[in-house]
């Protein structure tokens, strides 16, 4: 085992064989992941994959069946109160007192977190999330987006080092969702570690440094880019003025070309090292008479990566 102080300074969250079963259901199966300080970490997976259960365990809401985790240096099951003090959580549903005002909701939770300057923190986050003008209104009259913002404000009130966000943008209109995404990106710069559950894979792609795909056990874990490369390799797209079958043959004669196909007026070529191999291909294509309009790397959507992973899991 590595020295614990070192571990805690490098990693904000470390899971070791974290497992949770509800009776017969194995919700989370021996999950081991280490998340660096300041990282935005995405937790992806189909419905019932155990994302919420993982977050609940890591915020000391429910106890693991076996295994353990360290959150900001505190061990689950041994320092639960410390963990609760140091993590913020946006739960699946916002969970606000409907008959109380926005301000009263936050002030109540601020007292639960034993915050010193309650009115200051409350004002800071109400302003940050654009709810200051409506602070005296009952939450029952709020729209979904406003509630979500208020719930995010609550998760941040006590300035936690670690933040868990369970589907922060689900059910929101595109504009509200974007606001919240930008907000998440902005608080990352404060050095917070954020674990984000989402079904919006573009969102995960844009926000997350690394993602884990979960289906009770871990299916894959890496940066979105690395996952793309692992699953699909790298592909280069040549937009040609006119695509002739012979251009395909031109590139195929190189051993390093793994595959080449023509789709509409594009030539798609799979390569290992496009940085080195592209110039060679471009030269040959030009010599063969092709008029190249654009060259670019084909960016697979994270969604394709995700669906591929889930398919692979199913066929096993």
């Amino acid at each position: 085992m590595t020295d614990n102080t070192q571990v805690s300074s490098q990693y904000a969250i470390r899971l070791q064989d974290l497992t949770k079963s509800f009776g017969e259901t194995l919700a989370v199966d021996h999950l081991s992941v280490s998340i660096k300080r300041g990282e935005i970490f995405g937790l992806l997976g189909p419905n019932g994959a155990g994302k919420t259960t993982t977050i609940r365990m890591l915020s000391a809401l429910i106890a693991p069946t076996s295994g353990t985790a360290w959150i900001d240096g505190n061990q689950l099951g041994k320092q639960d109160q410390e963990i609760r003090r140091n993590v913020g959580i946006l739960t699946e549903s916002p969970g606000l007192y409907e008959s109380l005002s926005a301000e009263r909701n936050l002030a109540f939770f601020a007292q639960m977190y034993e915050i010193e300057n309650i009115s200051e923190s409350v004002e800071k986050y109400l302003r940050m999330l654009g709810l200051w003008d409506r602070r005296f209104e009952a939450v029952g009259t709020f729209s979904k987006g406003m509630r979500q913002k208020l719930a995010i404000a609550r998760a941040l009130l006590h300035e936690p080092n670690v933040l868990f966000l369970d589907e922060p943008t689900s059910n929101l209109d595109p504009e509200a969702a974007r606001l919240i995404r930008e907000f998440i990106a902005s608080i990352k710069h404060d050095g917070r570690t954020i674990m984000l559950c989402t079904h919006n894979l573009d969102e995960a792609d844009r926000l997350c440094d690394r993602v884990a795909v979960l289906k009770s056990h871990l299916l894959a874990l890496d940066t979105p880019t690395a996952l793309r490369r692992k699953l699909f390799g790298r592909s280069v797209v040549f937009h040609l003025h006119k695509t002739l079958p012979k251009y395909r043959e031109t590139v195929k004669k190189y051993q390093f070309v793994k595959s080449a196909e023509i789709v509409d007026n594009k030539l798609l070529v799979k390569l290992d090292k496009p940085e080195e191999q592209n110039p060679i291909l471009i030269r040959s294509l030009v010599q063969a008479g092709a008029e190249i309009q654009f060259v670019g790397e084909l960016r697979r959507r994270l969604e394709d990566v995700y669906l591929q992973l889930i398919d692979m899991e199913k066929s096993q």
Partner: protein, 264 residues
């Protein structure tokens, strides 16, 4: 312990926005104070030689209740003690209503999860909720009793009956059994409402526990039993045992994780 008070204040500011709960809190004590006072007023004004009730006209068990009181006095004392049993419904029903709305409300808004994510202890949470639910009921009982006592004096009933009204029997009932009843009511209502999704269903199931008191009321009306000092003392001892049992059970029942995963 500061957080217990924070919880209590939150509960009150929430629940007092609920008209139905507010209505119950105000209406029940008013009703239970008004009825006996009005009845006393009418029996009191009839307190002259013509309409005086002879002790021999009363059912035989009254003699035991009344001792050396004359017929009319005995009748009045009977009414007073009969309605004081009804008074004991206040510390039962108000806390039940409060607790049912508070727990079911918390489940409906899904606020338990963010609440349990804070460093509040389960004890602080439950104590806060239980106190928030029982304090208004207990205070309302005491207030209603006070109004009743004053009212009874103003209505100039016989000094013999007045003396009986300050009987330690009733002081025990109101000031000791009342809070004990409230504790039992709150524990029961909290356990039941943690398992149902409608505050009214919780109230109705909890209301079954009101039946023993109603039984007492009917028992005395029909002469099956008499609410005397011995009975009140037995009841109080019984309540202490019941409360201890309920609280011990509740600490097992309300484990932090269960609150989150089983309260559906």
């Amino acid at each position: 312990m500061k957080k217990v008070w924070v919880i209590i204040r939150k509960e009150w500011s929430e629940v007092f926005k609920n008209r139905l709960v507010l209505g119950t809190v105000a209406f029940l004590p008013l009703l239970f104070t008004a009825i006996p006072l009005v009845t006393l007023y009418y029996t009191g004004t009839g307190n002259n030689a013509d309409s005086a009730i002879a002790a021999t006209d009363l059912p035989p068990q009254f003699a035991q209740l009344c001792g050396d009181l004359n017929g009319t006095e005995c009748m009045q004392y009977y009414i007073v003690s009969q309605f004081l049993i009804l008074f004991m419904l206040i510390p039962l029903i108000l806390p039940m209503t409060f607790a049912s709305y508070s727990i079911v409300g918390e489940k409906r808004t899904h606020t338990l999860e963010p609440l349990l994510a804070t460093p509040i202890t389960t004890f602080e949470l439950l104590a806060g909720k239980a106190l928030a639910a029982s304090i208004p009921g207990i205070l309302a009982t005491w207030l209603a009793f006070l109004v009743y006592e004053i009212g009874a004096r103003i209505l100039a009933i016989s000094p013999h009956v007045l003396a009986r009204l300050s009987d330690p029997l009733w002081l025990i009932a109101i000031f000791i059994s009342g809070p004990l009843l409230a504790i039992a009511a709150v524990s029961i209502a909290m356990m039941i409402s943690s398992r149902v999704n409608e505050p009214r269903v919780a109230e109705q199931i909890s209301a079954l526990f009101v039946l023993p008191l109603v039984g007492l009321f009917i028992g005395q009306s029909t002469g099956l039993l008499l609410v005397n000092q011995t009975l009140i003392i037995y009841m109080t001892i019984g309540l202490i045992v019941l409360d201890a049992g309920l609280l011990a059970f509740a600490t097992q029942f309300f484990q932090r994780e269960n609150i989150l995963t089983r309260w559906k």
